[in-house]
C-alpha cells in the first residue's frame, strides 16, 4: 500500500509536469470543450493533483494500518 501510494504521488506529479511541458498556455482543444473553459492544461493539472491526494491518503493509511497490526 505504501509503495503504491508513493508511486501515485510521483505519477500525479508526472501528469502535472507533462501538462506544463506538452500543452502550451491557453491552447484550446476540441476534445476539451466539455470542460467548459477549454483549458486542457488546468484539467490535467487538476487530475494530477487529485491522483497525488489519493497517493498521500494511501501512504498515510499504510502507516496507520502497520500500527494497528502491531497492537
Amino acid at each position: 500500500m505504501r509503495l503504491t501510494g508513493l508511486l501515485l504521488l510521483v505519477s500525479g506529479w508526472a501528469i502535472v509536469l507533462a501538462a506544463f511541458v506538452m500543452l502550451g498556455a491557453a491552447m484550446p482543444r476540441a476534445a476539451f470543450v466539455m470542460l467548459g473553459a477549454a483549458m486542457p492544461r488546468a484539467a490535467f493539472v487538476a487530475a494530477g493533483v487529485a491522483i497525488e491526494i489519493l497517493g498521500l491518503g494511501l501512504v498515510a493509511r499504510s502507516h496507520v494500518s502497520v500500527r494497528e497490526a502491531r497492537r
Binding site: 508513493l6 510521483v10 500525479g12 502535472v16 511541458v21 506538452m22 502507516h63 500500527r67
Partner: protein, 425 residues
C-alpha cells in the same frame, strides 16, 4: 530572480541587516522544539538543533550551492517540446570560483546558508524524544545537500518552476513546505513515541505536553523578529523589491502572524474553554510560514486573511493528524510549516494583487511538485538511511530520556524526575 541592476548602497546595507536578523528565527525554532519536547530530552533537542544547523551549513557548502546556484548562472537543461527546461545548476563544488563580495549572488548565497539552517530544524520538531543524534546529522546532510537545493533551484535558481511562472518571495515552498514535508517523512519513519498510541487509552492518543511553555512563547517573539529579516531579505534578493517595499513586507509578515495567533487563541478558547498556549504558538508560527511566499505581493488585508486561515488550519490539522493520521509530531511541524507554507503559496496564486492569469495554475504546479516529488524523495532517502542505520533510539534510551542516554547528563539535574516517567506504558 536576481535584480539585473546593481543594488544601491542603501539596499545592500538593508539586505545585510535583514540577513543578520535571520539567526533569531533559527534560535526561536530551536527553542520551540526544546520547549515542546520532554524535560528529559531538552538538552538533546538543543544540541541536535546546533548540530543540524552545522551539518546543514557544511552540506550546503560542499554540494548544496552547486546544485542550487542562482538565476542566470550556469545550469543543465533538458530539451522538451521545443523548449529548454532548466533542472539543476552547474556551479562548482565547495563554492570554488565565487568572488564572495556584496554582489547579489553572494548575498543570496549567505541567505541560503541561513535558510538551510532553518529548514534543517523543522524535521527535528517531528522527531523529538526519539531521533538519534547521529541520524539527525545524516538526515540533515541529505536534506540540506540534495533535497532543499534541488527544489530551491527550481524556484529561485531559474529552474523549470520559475520558467512556468511560479513565484515565492521568501520561502513558503522551498523553506517551509520542504522542511514540513521532510518532517512528515521523519514522523512516519520513526513512528510515534512510546505510549502515545496505546490500546489502554481507548483508541485516543495520549497527550504528551511540552515541558516549558514560557520557552515556547518567548521563542515566538524571536521567530517573529527573525522572520522579518527572512522575508525582507527574500523579497529584496529573490523578488527584486525596492527598499521602500520593506514596509509592506514587514507589515504583511506581522499582520499574518498576529491574525493567525488570534485565530488559534479564539478557536482553542471556543473548543476547549480556554486558549491553549502551545497551539497559539503553533498558530503564530503558522501565520509567519503562510506569509513567506506572498509577503511582497499581498495587500495587508489579504495578508491578514492568509494569517487567519493559517491559524485555523494549524489548530485543526494538528488535532486531525494526531488523532486520525496517527502522526506523532510533538511540535506540530507538519501543520505549521508544511500546511502553513502550502496555504501561503496557494494564497499568493489566488489572492495576490496584480497576479498574472496563469499565476494560480503555476502555484498549484509548485504545490504538486512538493507533494509529488519532494515528499517521496525525502521519504525514500530517509527510509534508505533507516535501513542502513536505524534512526530511532533504542526503547531503553527512550524510556530513560535522550539526555541521559545519548549525552550522559540531563538538562535540569536539580529536578526530581517523577517515577512514572520511567514506567513503560
Amino acid at each position: 530572480m536576481i535584480p539585473s541592476a546593481a543594488p544601491s548602497e542603501a539596499a545592500t546595507v538593508l539586505e545585510l541587516a535583514c540577513l543578520l536578523l535571520i539567526p533569531l528565527a533559527i534560535a526561536g525554532i530551536a527553542l520551540v522544539n526544546t520547549g515542546l519536547g520532554r524535560s528529559r530530552s531538552a538538552s538533546h533537542a538543543m544540541l541536535a538543533s546546533l548540530c543540524a544547523v552545522s551539518v546543514a551549513a557544511a552540506a550546503y557548502f560542499v554540494c548544496g550551492f552547486a546544485i542550487q546556484g542562482f538565476a542566470g548562472g550556469p545550469a543543465h537543461t533538458i530539451a522538451a517540446a521545443g523548449k529548454q527546461w532548466n533542472w539543476i545548476a552547474a556551479q562548482p563544488l565547495f563554492l570554488r570560483g565565487l568572488a564572495l563580495d556584496a554582489s547579489p549572488a553572494c548575498l543570496i548565497l549567505w541567505l541560503q546558508v541561513l535558510s538551510v539552517g532553518l529548514v534543517a530544524l523543522i524535521p527535528l520538531g517531528a522527531g523529538l524524544d526519539r531521533w538519534r543524534l547521529g541520524a539527525v546529522c545524516a538526515s540533515t546532510f541529505l536534506l540540506a545537500g540534495i533535497v532543499y537545493p534541488l527544489f530551491a533551484h527550481w524556484v529561485w535558481g531559474g529552474g523549470w518552476l520559475a520558467q512556468i511562472g511560479f513565484v515565492d518571495a521568501a520561502g513558503g515552498a522551498p523553506v517551509q513546505a520542504v522542511g514540513g514535508l521532510t518532517a512528515l517523512s521523519i514522523a512516519w519513519i520513526l513512528g510515534p513515541r512510546r505510549g502515545k498510541y496505546s490500546s489502554s487509552e481507548g483508541g485516543m492518543p495520549a497527550a504528551i505536553p511540552g515541558h516549558n511553555a514560557v520557552l515556547v512563547l518567548f521563542a515566538c517573539f524571536l521567530v517573529w523578529t527573525g522572520w522579518l529579516g527572512l522575508n525582507g531579505a527574500g523579497a529584496m534578493l529573490f523578488g527584486g523589491a525596492p527598499v521602500g517595499a520593506l514596509v509592506r513586507v514587514g507589515l504583511n509578515t506581522t499582520l499574518s502572524a498576529a491574525m493567525a495567533g488570534l485565530a488559534a487563541a479564539a478557536i482553542t478558547r471556543a473548543r476547549f474553554g480556554r486558549p491553549d498556549a502551545s497551539l497559539c504558538a503553533n498558530g503564530w508560527i503558522g501565520g509567519l510560514a503562510a506569509s513567506s511566499a506572498g509577503c511582497l505581493y499581498f495587500d495587508p488585508a489579504v495578508a491578514a486573511l492568509a494569517g487567519l486561515v493559517a491559524g485555523a488550519l494549524v489548530v485543526f490539522t494538528v488535532e486531525w493528524l494526531d488523532v486520525y493520521g496517527e502522526i506523532d509530531d510533538p511540535t506540530g511541524s507538519v501543520s505549521v510549516h508544511a500546511i502553513g507554507g502550502i496555504w501561503g503559496v496557494l494564497a499568493l496564486g489566488f489572492f495576490a494583487r496584480s497576479g498574472s492569469p496563469v499565476q494560480p495554475l503555476a502555484q498549484v504546479a509548485g504545490v504538486a511538485t512538493l507533494l509529488g516529488f519532494v515528499l517521496p524523495f525525502a521519504y525514500s532517502l530517509n527510509w534508505l538511511l533507516d535501513r542502513f542505520s536505524p534512526q530511532r533510539v533504542a526503547p531503553e534510551g527512550e524510556r530513560q530520556g535522550l539526555d541521559l542516554h545519548e549525552l550522559g547528563a540531563g538538562a535540569y539535574p536539580e529536578f526530581v524526575i517523577h517515577r512514572e516517567d520511567f514506567l513503560q506504558r
